[in-house]
């Protein structure tokens, strides 16, 4: 009694009367037999195929090289990306610093201009005050002459 006969007997023993189950079992058994024979055919073909060691080695080395190349490319891309990002950040910071410096320079210039204008106005006020003071106040030695000029004026 071979394996499948024994297996069929084991499986159908207590349920031999159940027709549908037996049919299913037979279908299952046939499928399993076919599966086994298929695996054996595949295995025999694969086992007896000519060994292509050189090709395998080449393919593996090619894969290895491709893997390394991909890894290196990814690494280089990452490094370049990080460098570019850093460069961009530095450039942006430099532009921002220049802009702030320019703003500060303009503000300083405006302040200086304002300060100059104020100083100019103060000078002018001072000169005007001096002029008026000079015109009104005369030294005591010139007082009689001034009085005369004033009387002349009244006359």
């Amino acid at each position: 009694m071979n394996f499948w006969e024994k297996l069929g007997e084991e499986r159908t023993g207590p349920r031999a009367e159940q027709g549908a189950d037996t049919a299913n079992d037979l279908a299952l058994e046939q499928a399993l037999k076919n599966f086994r024979l298929s695996v054996i055919a595949w295995s025999d073909a694969a086992y007896s195929r000519p060994r292509t060691l050189a090709q395998v080695v080449r393919r593996r080395s090619w894969r290895l090289a491709a893997g390394w190349a991909l890894g290196c490319a990814l690494l280089a891309g990452g490094v370049a990306g990080a460098g570019y990002e850093r460069h961009q950040r530095i450039e942006a910071a430099r532009i921002e610093a220049a802009r702030v410096a320019e703003q500060q320079r303009v503000a300083r210039e405006q302040q200086n201009l304002l300060r100059e204008e104020q100083a100019k106005a103060e000078d002018e006020d001072l000169l005007a005050k001096v002029d008026s003071d000079v015109s009104r106040e005369v030294p005591s030695a010139m007082e009689p002459l001034a009085q005369l000029m004033a009387e002349d004026g009244r006359r």
């Binding site: 279908a27 055919a41 395998v56």
Partner: protein, 198 residues
């Protein structure tokens, strides 16, 4: 002391000859084991992995390991059961390592179900029968793919290698009851797959 010195070359020579003869006989025995069981171990690993290159590598590893431990094989089980046990452990280690190295998943060479199902028993005569057989084999492969690792191992050992439950239990390190339970679940899944497609 002098007598010992005089006897030493003879003793060593005899021991070497004896050891050499024993080694030769062990090597011959192991060669026979390899010749007899290599196709079977390869077939089991091929069905488990669906990857010819991987099955070949694991088969070589299996016999390398067996050769290293041949002296410790005490013959408690058959050589085939012992070899299958080594093969199952190597396969487990391989999948465990592959799970750890997740990027290797993309490098698997496992063929898909359709390709595996292309191999047909040559006995089928008519085209209709061949188609039916191909369909059945495809369904079984689909079901096998859905099995857990342990269920698949037990299923393949039983229905492809036609091993007894006790042998499967020894090869997998499980109890016979557990083997039966796994087998029953595996067959139920195959049955369901076949039933669903009919």
């Amino acid at each position: 002391m002098a007598a010992g010195t005089a006897l030493e070359p003879m003793t060593r020579g005899a021991a070497e000859k004896l050891a050499g003869r024993e080694l030769d006989s062990a090597a011959d025995e192991f060669s026979r084991i390899v010749e007899r069981h290599r196709p079977q171990v390869f077939r089991f690993l091929l069905a488990s992995t669906r990857d010819v290159d991987l099955a070949e590598t694991l088969t070589q590893d299996c016999f390398l390991k067996a050769h290293r431990n041949w002296a410790s094989f005490r013959g408690e089980s058959s050589a085939m059961t012992w070899l299958m046990r080594i093969a199952i452990n190597l396969q487990k280690d391989h999948w465990r390592n592959r799970r750890m190295q997740f990027w290797r998943l993309t490098r698997t060479n496992a063929v898909d179900m359709d390709e595996a199902g292309e191999w047909l028993p040559s006995g089928e005569s008519s085209v209709e029968r061949q188609l039916l057989a191909r369909e059945q084999v495809g369904h079984v492969w689909t079901a096998v793919k859905g099995l857990s690792e342990r269920q698949r191992t037990v299923f393949l050992l039983r229905y492809v290698e036609e091993q007894e439950l006790s042998e499967i239990a020894r090869a997998t390190g499980l109890s016979e009851g557990t083997v039966k339970a796994h087998l029953s679940r595996a067959v139920a899944k195959v049955r369901a797959e076949l039933g669903a497609k009919q």
